[in-house]
């Protein structure tokens, strides 16, 4: 059985180790010289550090090590997608975006779209952050360009706009959400290329939006409070009716992200995922029922049942 190494001992990294405690697992710090000396070809590295992951992933793939990344940086995910040939050549797996979104959002979007005859829209919304790196990414994302697919075309819309009041599972409830620079639409389109409209929003206060282009005014919390994810899929069901299906979770972002990352890392280590790039929304991932495995780790999936009044 290959060893799973977790690069980064932040909120997510520590929980990945906890989830995988019954397997050979270790934690490493990529900032330390010689950190990868113990990492052998055939092992799996979960990259849960802040910042970009593409350079580190390329180095590991070149050494015959499979990689699971936990990040939502748009430019970084583009660079990671370009590593597909390198992963195939070295016969190792590269999982891009195994966190809350991208990650769990892709698993849910795939499971909902598979219930429809025709899926026309996927809309993702996020609330909350994991550790300090995640909070900084949240801050930056509101001043970046939000990638959206509209009628089959990729559009970049300034982050911080596109306000929509969305209901998350309790205890989070209703939150104002805004377009943000998150890689989820880019990755989801690759998994579900026939869906013409895909968007991603995240909750923010007015103050977050106004100050997004400034440095963070105060140091981020060691860990955010309860966060949430909401995935809405619209389309036509097998009876020909237009329907809107909404699933979500309310959980600490670090815990949910770690559950997803641990599930993918485990699948890679037992060779369930093939060489090359794997995304959470891929059909072969749905075949492995990874969403059920994430739920089994304690992330409670909920279904929106509409107006209770």
């Amino acid at each position: 059985m290959s060893t799973i190494w977790v690069a980064g001992a932040g909120v997510v990294g520590r929980r990945v180790v906890r989830f995988l405690a019954e397997r050979p697992v270790g934690i490493v710090d990529p900032r330390v010289r010689g950190w990868s000396d113990d990492v052998a070809p055939g092992d799996v590295v979960v990259v849960s550090t802040g910042g970009r992951h593409a350079v580190l992933a390329a180095e590991l793939l070149g050494r015959g090590v499979s990689v699971v990344t936990v990040g939502d940086d748009l430019a970084d995910c583009r660079e990671l997608l370009d590593l597909e040939d390198q992963a195939r050549t070295n016969e190792v797996a590269l999982v891009i975006g195994a966190a809350l979104s991208p990650g769990l959002s892709g698993l849910i979007a795939r499971s909902l779209s598979d219930r429809l005859r025709e899926c026309s829209e996927i809309h993702i919304a996020l609330h909350g952050t994991a550790g300090p790196s995640c909070a900084r990414a949240h801050h930056r994302s509101l001043s970046g360009s939000s990638p959206s697919w509209v009628d089959g075309e990729m559009r970049s819309t300034p982050g911080g706009g596109g306000r929509e009041l969305l209901w998350f599972p309790e205890p989070v409830g209703p939150m104002d959400c805004f377009l943000a620079e998150i890689a989820s639409p880019l990755l989801l389109h690759r998994s579900l290329p026939d869906v013409p409209r895909i968007s991603v929003r995240r909750s923010a206060r007015r103050r977050d939006r106004v100050t997004a282009r400034l440095p963070m005014m105060r140091s981020p919390h060691p860990e955010g409070r309860i966060g949430a994810l909401r995935v809405e899929v619209r389309g036509v069901d097998h009876d020909g009716r237009r329907v809107s299906l909404v699933h979500g979770v309310a959980e600490q972002v670090g815990t949910a992200s770690a559950a997803v990352a641990a599930t993918f890392a485990e699948a890679v280590s037992v060779k369930e995922l093939p060489a090359g790039v794997t995304l959470a929304g891929d059909s072969r991932v749905a075949d492995l029922r990874l969403l059920s495995r994430v739920v089994a780790r304690g992330v409670r999936l909920q279904e929106y049942i509409g107006d209770l009044a």
């Binding site: 499971s111 007015r206 100050t211 005014m217 049942i305 209770l308």
Partner: protein, 43 residues
């Protein structure tokens, strides 16, 4: 320079916080409009 930016940021923060308290916010919680129930992903 960094200090000046931080001071200005703190001032902006204070003004915005005061303004949102005074004016009230659209971000205030609206009445409940939805229910959620646990679901089995395999269902």
């Amino acid at each position: 320079m960094k200090l000046i930016i931080r001071i200005l940021s703190a001032l902006v923060l204070a003004v915005l916080t005061a303004a949102s308290i005074r004016v009230g916010s659209r971000e205030a919680t609206p009445p409940s409009r939805g229910g959620w129930r646990p679901v089995d992903p395999e269902a």
